[in-house]
């Protein structure tokens, strides 16, 4: 963890930017970085099913505060624009965001971060809820990431009858292609992913000799980082953030405060 003392200068820039996403199509993204020359490791944040919302802007700034170049692309961009909850409802009613465009947008976001002169060329991916599933998916479908964090991603294990045109393959079926170390944070009371489906994923990771680290929190369910909701579990959330920063520092290099 980056040590902080009260005499340090710190600052960050956080703003909406446009960048080429899947198939070169321009999408928007929220980008935050520490001030200073770097070099900084990077993190791509995949927003959760409830949308590209205020919480994900906060998470993005949290990574910048901890010394990372952080970007959260709007993976719902192609569905139009309205309030985050209206967009979430629109995407939900349309059958969900296609995996193919998510992989393209997240991969493009990693390339954007690595192209910056401030970058140390190491980039991780982090997502919660559907974003946790997608973080695992992109870590399997691309070789753009040096570390991946799946927080309570549901439907990684998906029976065939639950597959859809937008999500045609269960991510667990891509496990052999996982291209970077994986950290998983889960709640014992979650109904999707259940502890049993987390165990199934773990078995698959073991089978292919993958580098992974899973933590299952008792007394927590789905979304235990989300402080505005009833799902919030402060002890699990604090421990989870700490484990995540330790994990990213191990595989992405030392973050900085931009002095």
């Amino acid at each position: 963890m980056h040590p902080y003392t009260t005499d340090m200068y710190e600052g960050m820039l956080a703003e909406t930017i446009m960048l080429p996403g899947h198939d070169g199509e321009i999408i928007n993204a929220y980008y935050a970085r520490p001030l200073g020359p770097g070099p900084f490791p990077g993190v791509v944040l995949i927003h959760h099913m409830p949308g590209w919302d205020e919480l994900y802007r906060e998470f993005t700034r949290k990574f910048a505060h901890h010394g990372y170049l952080a970007i959260s692309p709007n993976i719902y961009f192609r569905f139009g624009h309205a309030s985050p909850d209206d967009m979430s409802a629109k995407v939900r009613g349309s059958g969900g965001v296609p995996d193919v465009s998510v992989v393209g947008d997240i991969d493009a976001s990693a390339r954007f971060l690595k192209s910056l002169p401030l970058s140390n060329r190491k980039v991780g991916v982090f997502g919660t809820c559907s974003g946790g599933r997608q973080a695992f998916l992109v870590a399997c479908r691309t070789k753009s990431f040096d570390a991946a964090v799946n927080c309570w991603g549901g439907n990684v294990v998906q029976p065939k009858e639950k597959l859809t045109p937008a999500q045609p393959v269960a991510p667990i079926d891509y496990t052999k292609d996982l291209s970077c170390p994986l950290l998983g944070l889960f709640g014992e009371e979650d109904k999707n992913p259940t502890p049993e489906s987390v165990r199934q994923l773990e078995e698959e990771l073991k089978k292919y000799g993958k580098n992974y680290e899973f933590h299952m929190y008792p007394g927590a369910g789905h979304g235990f980082f989300y402080y505005p909701s009833v799902a919030y579990r402060p002890e699990a959330a604090v421990d989870g953030w700490n484990k995540m920063f330790t994990f990213f520092e191990k595989y992405l290099g030392t973050p900085g405060r931009g002095s």
């Binding site: 309205a82 909850d85 409802a89 939900r92 059958g95 439907n155 639950k162 999707n192 009833v230």
Partner: protein, 92 residues
């Protein structure tokens, strides 16, 4: 929980959204994360008109028990009419 449970049907009628009344074309019913209701999962009902954009939406988020009550009283109210059963298509 990310359930992915969504059922959709075409409907006709009007809804009052943030910019006043608009024509309804579709209802999406899901059991998944609510945006506002203080519960882990909710029965979410979105009355929408896709032609008018994502903001053309009337939303409610109910506990499962409340949703069942709603279904019951809708059917009770309809049973008191002489209206013929609807043959509107269901796209679920």
């Amino acid at each position: 929980m990310c359930t992915g449970i969504v059922e959709t049907a075409e409907v006709s009628g009007s809804g009052k959204g943030q910019h006043g009344w608009f024509k309804l074309e579709q209802v999406n019913v899901s059991y998944d994360h609510p945006s506002n209701a203080p519960m882990d999962e909710a029965l979410n009902i979105d009355f929408v008109n896709p032609k008018d954009g994502p903001g053309a939406r009337v939303a409610v988020e109910l506990s499962p028990e409340s949703a069942r009550k709603l279904v019951k009283i809708i059917l009770t109210a309809l049973s008191q009419t002489t209206m013929a059963p609807s043959n509107e298509p269901n796209r679920a």
